[in-house]
Amino acid sequence: MSGERLTIDQVKPGLALPELAVDVTATTVVLGAMASRDWRPMHHDKDFAQQRNGVRDIFLNTPNIAAWYERYLTDWSGPTGRLGRMRFRMRESIFPGDRMVLRGTVEKVEVDELGCAWAELSLSISVGERLCSDCTARIALPARPGDNPWRRRGADWRP
């Protein structure tokens, strides 16, 4: 992560985020399952995944996919980016040996009536031509240098 603190004036609809490519290994899958306390065997036991789920290997679990999206967004926004909302869907499994690529595009920029600045993005994770997950996210960014969305509390925060 660059450490840059993106402000809303640097963001326009149509802006594409830098791609993030990750070579997924068995360790990636098991780490992700452990980090989200997901002990279901299809995320650590290849025999189980093949025989019970009918897939070729263990695969990334859904809560870890959310964590990958968060990392991707805040790599871009810097630490002043505050996630407000995420909606995502899993379409295909991601396995060891896959090279997953995260992509994102800014769809909308707005400042709400309380002065909080928001960027709405569409995000995706693909392996080759295979779309594995898609997501829409709403993230608050500083309206100007020195602004900090994390200071918003209670009714001043409308995600």
């Binding site: 980090a35 989200s36 809560p63 870890n64 964590a67 999206y69 630490p79 996630l83 909606r87 925060w157």
Partner: protein, 173 residues
């Protein structure tokens, strides 16, 4: 947001809009697990690694927002455990009550409120928002349902809501 199909069993209809399975987290929010989560996705956000940045921006350490549900997933083992409600118990209740043996989750939305901080003891509950009439899809015949899982901290502040859309179904014979 409450809406229902007319042909639901009365017991299921009564669940709509009702707060169910309120329970505290089994353990408090802790930084060790924050590191584990960040390491799993190589998340270098200084909010989770640099105390000066955390103090400046968030008034101290916080947990990554997407870890919300992690704080309610039990450790693999605990002494004298007699069984706890599953994270989406309402989903499993619906499968049983509506006699729909198969189910998939089609959609997941997370809305984030107050930051979650190490030391917090969160509370969660589930609310069934809607159940559709019977529908036929390529998977089989069944119903879509929407369930909110709400999270609050020990101060009664809302920290987030996860909304799941599930489809419970029976395969075509």
């Amino acid at each position: 947001m409450v809406e229902s199909a007319d042909d639901l069993p009365p017991e299921v209809a009564s669940w709509i809009g009702q707060e169910r399975y309120r329970q505290p987290g089994e353990f408090e929010v802790e930084r060790g697990y924050v590191y584990t989560s960040c390491a799993s996705v190589e998340n270098g956000n200084p909010l989770f690694w640099d105390e000066a940045v955390a103090r400046e921006l968030t008034g101290g350490w916080i947990a990554p927002p997407t870890m919300l549900s992690v704080w309610f997933r039990p450790h693999y083992w605990a002494p004298n455990r007699t069984g706890t409600a599953q994270p989406l118990q309402v989903h499993f209740d619906l499968k049983e009550a509506l006699d729909l043996p198969e189910a998939v989750m089609t959609d997941n939305t997370i809305v984030f409120g107050e930051p979650v901080r190490p030391g917090d003891r969160l509370v969660t509950w589930q609310v069934l928002r809607s159940v559709s009439p019977l529908k036929r899809t390529r998977l089989g015949t069944g119903r879509f349902w929407v369930i909110d899982v709400v999270y609050e901290n020990q101060r009664g502040e809302w920290v987030g809501t996860e909304t799941y859309t599930g489809f419970g179904y029976r395969r075509e014979a």
